[in-house]
Amino acid sequence: VSATWSGRDIEAELRAVLAEACGRDVSRIGADVDLVRALGLDSLALLRLVAEVEVRLGVRFPDSALSQLRTIRQFAEAIVADREKSISPPCGESLPVRVERGNA
């Protein structure tokens, strides 16, 4: 795991962004729960959320992946993939992502 960030850090960052953007507590939303359903988003609201994540976390997701970002786990994996592009881990290993499962 990187010395500066981990999957758990990413999840925490992500949940903070979601909570602020949506104005509600997202701590109990499970990692694999569909955010569209859990947060009552329409398709454009979901894209605004993706844009917010990009701005706040300094990442850029591939256009081809935008439709697939529906859960916290999917977001986290996409963030890791983006950061991997700019940070090469030792020995070329992939950075593990561990997203805690929530209660929802």
Binding site: L39, A51, L66, S67
Partner: protein
């Protein structure tokens, strides 16, 4: 007494190749799904027009399984669009065979009253306002009449105006709730089978009534996303600004249909964005002026065509997306239209595009003209009025060319890469848009 209000929904494409294609294209089915899952505002209005003393039950056709016993009602009212009218007739026939009187209403019934009357004890033409209270009174007294004519004007005035009973939707999983602020459209496009066919003139709801309905609608859903069931919401810009100023504090996200002239008014665009408008659907119809000739009696759309690109850019720069609608098979279009539409969508930066085939809905001026010209493929094709199935002989291409061109265009426009490109465009727009911002708070 128990009255069952049954809404028909769930239009299905009939052409096999198109149906199969829709499964694989992510952008193709989105709008269709939205339309299919909208509640029936007409029946919620009927419910509100029903006097006290009756139990009113709202059902979607999906609640009525073909093999199951019929839910017991003393009176059944069914509203349907053209594509599902045969299913509506079959259900009406079942209820009537069981001894339950049936009332049919809606756009198709208004345009094809004699046909509908064969499957109903009574039909309601035009809107329910001005008709349903009389019908119920007659039903209560055992003298139900075969035909009632609702109002074609003045529907938003007392004593005929009512707030639809949105609370009947409580507990149902609708993505969107519909609210109407106007009925009709003065453009009178030849093909249109919308509310202008049940009105004598464009009618706009007073702002305070429209806002009151929106408050009633948002009370029944945790995540309010409203779809205005209008044909052209912002014809009257002064009305529009007053409406939007009142709407902004209500905290809803919403969608509507209007014409491209909203781009003429900067203040209106700012108010649109600030009020939570996420998308306007605009009937662009064709990417070239030639294709729009004769579309409407005043040639308004043809004259506006040259401004399309600039107008779309301006509207979307405020963070309000445009869903541009195109119709294929117009008389002046040749097979060149297919790449023209694709190129226009790319060049314009439209966030969403709705591509349909010219459809001669029964009772419209288009239907009558094509019938006169001997260009209808078959005289009765109601279940194919899906907006995607070809039912007429185009003037400047063959049916096969239109069908294959449609499929080609769908692949070009709705594939994953193009959808992703349009999604990226929207995200970049909102990142740089102060009215919307990338951090919208989602207005819930």
């Amino acid at each position: 007494m128990r009255i069952g209000l049954i809404a028909m929904s769930g239009v299905r494409v009939r052409t096999r190749e198109l149906a199969e294609l829709g499964v694989t294209l992510p952008g193709f089915v989105n709008r269709g799904r939205v339309i299919a899952s909208l509640p029936s505002l007409g029946l919620l209005t009927v419910a509100a027009l029903t006097p006290p003393g009756f139990e009113v039950v709202y059902r979607e056709i999906q609640d009525v399984r073909p093999g199951d016993a019929l839910e017991p009602f003393d009176l059944v009212a069914i509203s349907s669009f053209t594509a599902q009218i045969d299913e509506a007739y079959a259900l009406a026939d079942r209820y009537r065979a069981a001894g339950v009187p049936v009332v049919l209403g809606g756009l198709h019934v208004t345009l094809m009253p004699d046909e509908a009357a064969e499957h109903a004890d009574s039909i309601v033409l035009n809107g329910a306002e001005g008709a349903w209270p009389r019908l119920i009174e007659d039903f209560r007294n055992g003298r139900l009449q075969p035909r009632y004519e609702g109002l074609r004007a003045g529907v938003f005035r007392s004593p005929d105006y009512v707030v639809p009973r949105f609370e009947l939707l409580r507990g149902r999983p609708y993505n969107r709730i519909t609210v109407q602020t106007s009925r009709g459209c003065p453009l009178h496009c030849e093909f249109c089978a919308a509310s202008l066919r049940i009105t004598s003139s464009f009618q706009q709801k007073p702002v305070e009534l429209a806002l009151g309905e929106i408050q009633a609608a948002r009370a029944v859903t945790e995540h309010p996303f409203l779809e205005l069931a209008d044909d052209n919401t912002f014809l009257n810009k002064a009305w529009g600004k007053e409406f939007l100023r009142g709407l902004a504090p209500l905290g809803v996200s919403w969608f509507t249909e209007t014409d491209i002239s909203v781009a003429d008014d900067d203040e209106l665009l700012r108010l649109l964005a600030a009020s939570g408008c996420r998308q306007i659907l605009v009937g662009l119809e064709s990417p070239t002026a030639d294709g729009l000739a004769g579309m409407d009696p005043r040639d308004w759309k043809r004259r506006r065509c040259a401004q399309y690109l600039r107008a779309i850019e301006k509207i979307q720069s405020h963070g309000v997306t445009v869903n541009g609608c195109f119709i294929l098979g117009l008389d002046s279009q040749t097979p060149e239209v297919f790449p023209q539409v694709r190129d226009f969508i790319r060049e314009s930066g439209l966030i969403e595009a709705q591509i349909t085939v010219l459809t001669p809905f029964p009772g419209t001026p288009l239907y009558h003209r094509l019938a006169r010209e001997g260009r209808l493929i078959q005289p009765r094709f109601w279940d194919r009025c899906t907006l995607f199935d070809v039912n007429f002989q185009p003037r400047n291409m063959s049916v096969a060319e239109l069908e294959s061109g449609l499929r080609w265009l769908f692949r070009e426009v709705y594939n994953e890469a193009e959808v992703g490109r349009r999604q990226r465009h929207y995200m970049e727009l909102v990142k740089g848009c102060p009215e919307v911002g990338a951090s919208p708070g989602f207005r819930h």
